[in-house]
Point group: C2
Chain length 429, copies 2
């Protein structure tokens, strides 16, 4: 019995979960298509040297390594590794397929694998949904990422999301104006926690790290109205001019593109060091799952393999977290099954008529289950359908067969009507 | 530069390939749904003991093994392995999730990994598309597998497919009637090659293996009309009664279900030893890729972990081979892009109008690319769209903006019309 278990930290996606997931992915694909993004898939594993050295020491420990095999495979030696994210594979694709037309706008919806310590709600295999525009530095591309997140969350049925936008270079200018340019990383890590630990918490952390009181005073002076771009830029001075102008352009484009619920937030830092321009992060108000989307401009990363500058901006939608919130809020299609009707089998003699009715319904696009036990005992057949949440049953007994009709039973109400099968098809198809 | 390469035997699925693949998978999912199959996904890797001992020595060599990691992970030791097929994971799911309602009808479309020697057209990562009915032994389920393959291939646009059907127990009866019951496996392996090497080739192989001339004489007497179930059954005698009756029932159900292009073929052996009842195999006439679908009843396999009998019947659709034939025959959606229109940017001043037009088109479901280079120089913008195969461009210059119209240019014909954006949306949406 010990082997009858999925691997630790993984999960099977059973039909009810798959229906939810396919519903969300279908909406994502449709929105991505509307924005001109094209689908891409890369292999589950890469050559090990492609992934190593890209994620820092902590990330590298979490990479699943695959043993060499076949003739010449050395015992215990790994030459391949499972995909850790979708960004390094994108950089590899851009470097390798040199004839890809630019801008290359791709979306990618695939699992990634990380050997994190398994814990509630954190898995070693999970989907990422990334969209990236590679090869242009225009603010239009940045704004389209914001508008796309807005459209995607609206299409899923969310109204209470907030897309926070900031600029990496504005953050640098803020830290410099506060007199801490030489320790920018530490200040950004602290500011990133503002949501969680508040001004007092951040101040305490920075004081303990030895930042002078006047640095803190200046910092909070600049961030007094962190949602007011003009006020922040004025408090920073000249250093803020260029990033503030970029942000104003981004916001003008986002507005024209119909993006909703985006705000400037000077305290949005985003942990990842590779961002070089605008950064975005989205939360569902009261969602309780942290950010459900994040991204930004990262002009240095996609060129890592090609040894050339490749501007890029992208955003990732947090499929797994969105599914959690949608489940809690009842925003997912209900019912564990997509099947609409059970075609019962009255008797072996009437199997031909029943199966022909199933075929006619299927040809009209109806999702049909046929009873696959012994014919007869309709009560058992209705019970199976009802237990599965299948809403209708079709019965063809001798009377119906003689009249060329079928009996359509609503399993919730018990109501029954005799109809030609074509009418059932029209009703359910 | 040495790392800028995908792993050997794998491939990137670039947008044109992904469009083809998503097209076929979309049709598959729709047909599977009509037959009452529900989606399932299992993790990419399983505990190594789940996979070992299931595929024979040759298969086992091809399994990708993953190294232990983290604290306690022993250097060089593998504890996980990549999925080799979708059948063993299905058996594991059925054993583990004991409350799954039966019959469990699932489909699964996921990649599998095999460390085969890479060669033209054979990859180490490829998709399998499996449908299986677990928990019922009815011939209705067998017949639905045949009808589903027929519907799926018809929906893809194929007319010239042939679904061969045989029965494992009929094959045993044929071999027994020929007097070779004690060496059934060898005879079936030889018969399986009949398509390729003909009667003379099979006879030669069996003679060389020491089968007596009278065995061969009887074998070819039984198989004189291999498509005629009555003739084959009569030549075999009593031993054929039970499987022939099952096949007749299967064919009657398949006919009622509207299945097309299925034939009885007494020489269809299917290599896999685990089949216990009906077997199916489908070829595209002149497709040149071998079988594009195969399956059958395998009542002993799904219960491998649960130590109980679990009847099952299923069929696998050969996505990769079907894509090859469809590509050769021009049956796939043309055009490398799903994008329908490029919204150009005439000048920075008119960006607001252009981006608002893009938003209006997207809201109507149109796939829109916006120009992300510097505004102006429309010729370059048209060139990009044309190079990508985007059929239309929208231009909003000062005149159009003043009139509240957009200029819709057909990039193939050069034809231009001025319209309200809502009319463009209605035309393309």
């Amino acid at each position: 019995m010990s082997t009858v278990q999925n691997a630790r930290g993984t999960r099977d996606l059973l039909p009810a979960q798959m229906h939810a997931r396919l519903h969300v992915i279908g909406i994502f694909r449709d929105i991505f298509r509307r924005y001109g993004f094209e689908p891409l898939e890369t292999p589950a594993f890469e050559r090990i040297e492609t992934l190593m050295g890209k994620y820092g020491d902590e990330g590298e420990k979490l990479i699943f390594r695959i043993l060499e095999r076949g003739e010449g495979g050395r015992e215990g030696k790994a030459d391949l590794a499972l995909r850790y994210d979708l960004t390094v594979p994108l950089a590899r694709v851009v470097a390798q397929h040199t004839t890809l037309p630019m801008p290359f706008k791709r979306y990618q919806i695939q699992p990634v694998w990380r050997a994190d310590k398994p814990q509630h709600g954190r898995f070693r295999e999970f989907y990422q949904c990334d969209v990236d525009v590679v090869g242009v530095s225009s603010r239009v591309a940045d704004a389209e990422c914001v508008a796309l997140v807005s459209d995607a969350l609206s299409a899923l049925g969310f109204a209470d999301y907030q897309i926070k936008v900031n600029h990496r270079k504005l953050l640098s200018a803020i830290v410099a104006a506060a007199g801490a340019a030489d320790r920018e990383g530490e200040v950004l890590v602290a500011i990133d926690k503002l949501d969680k630990i508040g001004v007092d918490g951040v101040s305490k952390e920075l004081s303990e790290r030895g930042f002078a009181a006047e640095v803190l005073t200046k910092l909070w002076e600049i961030l007094a109205a962190p949602g007011d771009l003009a006020a922040v830029a004025a408090a920073v001075g000249d250093g803020a001019d260029a990033p503030a102008a970029e942000l104003r352009e981004l916001f003008a484009h986002a507005s024209a593109l119909g993006a909703k619920n985006y705000v400037f937030d000077a305290t949005l830092a985003r942990g990842l060091g590779y961002y070089t321009g605008a950064v975005f992060e989205t939360v569902i108000t009261g969602g309780g799952v942290g950010s459900v989307s994040g991204g930004g401009r990262y002009d240095g990363l996609v060129g890592m393999f090609s040894k050339r500058d490749v501007p890029a901006v992208g955003v990732s939608l947090g499929l797994e977290r969105l599914l959690v919130v949608m489940e809690e809020r009842g925003m997912l299609p209900t019912g564990g099954t997509a099947t609409q009707v059970l075609v019962t089998r009255f008797s072996a003699e009437l199997d031909g008529a029943s199966l022909a009715a199933a075929a006619a319904l299927r040809a009209a696009g109806v999702a049909v289950e046929t009873w696959a036990g012994a014919p007869g005992k309709l009560g058992n057949q209705f019970k199976l359908a009802d237990g599965r949440g299948i809403p209708y049953a079709v019965v063809i007994g001798p009377d119906e067969a003689a009249a060329g009709l079928v009996n359509l039973k609503n399993l919730k109400t018990g109501e029954q009507v005799k109809l030609p099968v074509a009418e059932v098809a029209a009703k359910l198809g």
